[in-house]
Subunit: 387 residues, 2 copies
């Protein structure tokens, strides 16, 4: 269901031949209205792919009628020709649907620095428009996969009497700020009535505590995009807090699916930084732990090497005293006051889920950052990259 | 020869049983003078091991008579008891040699968060003092190895007429600011006449362009230490620039050996950032490239994935325009003006040495940062860590 769970949306996914495997690689999501408000969040990488440059520009108007997405090529670092390709793609979608190119967002994912095969992509776009349907969400989610082993979809509802408001989404990749491999793309749709300014606040807040706190491998993509489209087809507006809650729940669900499916990973690691002087401090410490390759290798090997947690904390500028740091792993307080606590032999790291709690004893701020382990599978997938 | 190449130094390395393997694990270097000037550079990690805290304190006087080093345990995150252990170790060395504990530096490397087995270490120290000799440099270099597959030594000379000044050094690990596994320890000795203030400037400058620009895996240790000791036994003072050149050459040699022996690595990667607006910008960009796991995996797979170089540059705050970036890999200009240049098929990455040149076209500053690839061997060694 995903992006077609909410009323007012159609979608499709087809195989245009961009992927050598012949798997689906072009998706389209169309908002049939009555409204067409939209907002988005993009990568903070300063090197931005052509589709990101295009879609940021389109979204300044706060309206979208359609989103076209392709896997099999990122169209990043492709120069003016790459931007022209994005423009041409949006124009073809617009012509087929009967709207303006300025109402079409474009998202791409795949290898950087290679032009898109437009001779394959444009016929694929035509085919996808012809295949659009109110039950096409699943096919669209399939078509945006790269190394994802499964399609990722999520849906939430708000019911009040006989009236239902729906938020649905699809995603690929892992992590907004620091995706594993190439890119994270997410499209979330809702039939709530909401204006663009509201959607903008909602999508930013939803990303802040979900995708932006997932840091699978510390690498920031050129193509990351999260879009939120509202059709208004339910004819009901939700209080902004409730809409934020629903969208956040969908984003959280997708983020968890991404972590569970991260390339070559065997562990999903939740890092809670508590007792921080500020949220910024907690986030800096959480990211430093999440990005420590030595720790991530140790956790892959089921080794509760908490010293590497302290070594990671020590690289930050956060407020803390080294001799006040506490660390627990899967509930065992292995480090107290910067020194050994309970025996590391008590820590069981055999399951997929690992919890690390680091208490800085410097205040009351708390943040949760999630990551994966670093494995030979990750190395293999990323040294033999192809979509 | 290494630390005993210069006149006035004796050294030894023995097996005290700290390593389960029974390999040598305790080393001592003694400066017999006539002078005893010394200086050091330490990790920037805020979580510092007991031996680092001790040795920083000792070095405030600018004098060292001896250095005791052990592998088989980092004595980091071990609390007040760990500091007492370091103090006791220095006292035992001092008593055996007949000097003061405040003249003894201590260095440790190995697992974090585990107390040192003092019942093994102290007898080892006594044995090492008894074994001190003017030809003991090689044995000392052996005893500080952890996962190093070979001992690392370097020597340089300055000859003028019949007079020779020597600088020699030993090291273990990889990289000052961002070592692979646990720690980098380096001891450099010279028989030049030099005061502590001069040595301090010399060792900082030598580290700045060598160890501090090696970034094997982005992880900053709790124990990194570089010490420079001068005996004055040659009775000759060198111009500071010449002494700096010799010490830098020894550090450069050791840094190259570390990169060549980095855990699980198959590539030594030299990243030249040129055309930067400032040295700080160039260094930030160089480190961002050196720490990009996706790129490091690609290079392991001999894949000239230059898009990942641009994606890494884009995460920095350095001055540049995305559409002006040039990247060459092993001499092939694969990216021009942020877009594809020569064919990536022309790039031969089959050898161990890889050169990446990134031109920001934003100024005239240039920096070289060196790193290694990310391999399944690295993952294996660090997920099954033991010294």
């Amino acid at each position: 269901m995903s992006v077609t769970a909410a009323q007012g949306f159609r979608a499709a996914g087809v195989a245009a031949g961009l992927k050598p495997s012949g798997r689906p690689d072009v998706a389209i999501v169309v908002n049939d209205g009555p409204a067409d408000a939209a907002a988005g969040v993009f990568t903070r990488n300063r090197v931005q792919a052509a589709p990101v440059l295009w879609t940021r520009q389109v979204l300044t108007g706060g309206r979208l009628r359609a989103v076209v997405l392709n896997s099999g090529g990122a169209n990043a670092c492709t120069g003016p020709a790459g931007f022209a390709d994005t423009h041409t793609t949006a124009e073809r979608v617009a012509a087929e649907i009967g709207i303006g190119a300025g109402e079409v967002a474009v998202c791409s994912t795949g290898l950087i620095g290679v032009p898109l095969p437009m001779d394959l992509l444009l016929p694929g776009v035509v085919e996808a428009v012809a295949a659009l349907s109110a039950s096409g969400g699943g096919a669209a989610a399939e078509a945006i996969r790269t190394t994802d082993t499964v399609a990722k979809e999520a849906v939430r509802h708000s019911r009040e009497g006989g009236s239902v408001v729906t938020v649905g989404g699809m995603g690929k990749g892992a992590a907004m700020l620091a995706p594993s491999l190439a890119t994270m793309l997410v499209v979330v749709t809702t039939d709530a009535v909401a204006d663009a300014a509201t959607l903008d606040r909602v999508v930013r807040e939803a990303c802040r505590t979900t995708f932006e706190r997932v840091d699978s491998d510390g690498c920031l993509s050129t193509n990351d995009t999260v879009l939120l489209l509202a059709s208004g087809a339910s004819e009901r507006a939700l209080p902004e807090a409730e809409l934020t809650e629903l969208v956040t729940a969908v984003c959280e669900d997708l983020a968890s699916q991404m972590l569970g499916d991260a390339e070559g990973s065997t562990k999903t690691i939740s890092i809670t930084v508590t007792g921080a002087a500020s949220e910024a401090d907690a986030l800096e410490v959480g990211r430093a732990i999440a990005r420590n390759n030595l720790l991530k290798c140790a956790l892959y090997g089921k080794d509760p090497n908490w010293g590497r947690v302290l070594a990671a904390i020590g690289t930050t500028a956060a407020a803390f005293e080294p001799d006040q740091l506490d660390v627990a792993m899967n509930g065992v307080q292995v480090c107290r006051a910067g020194a050994p606590g309970e025996s590391r032999d008590l820590v069981d790291l055999s399951g997929r889920e690992i919890s690390i709690v680091a208490d800085l004893h410097a205040g009351s701020a708390e943040v949760v950052v999630r990551t994966n382990d670093l494995t030979d599978g990750y190395v293999y997938e990323n040294s033999a990259y192809s979509t």
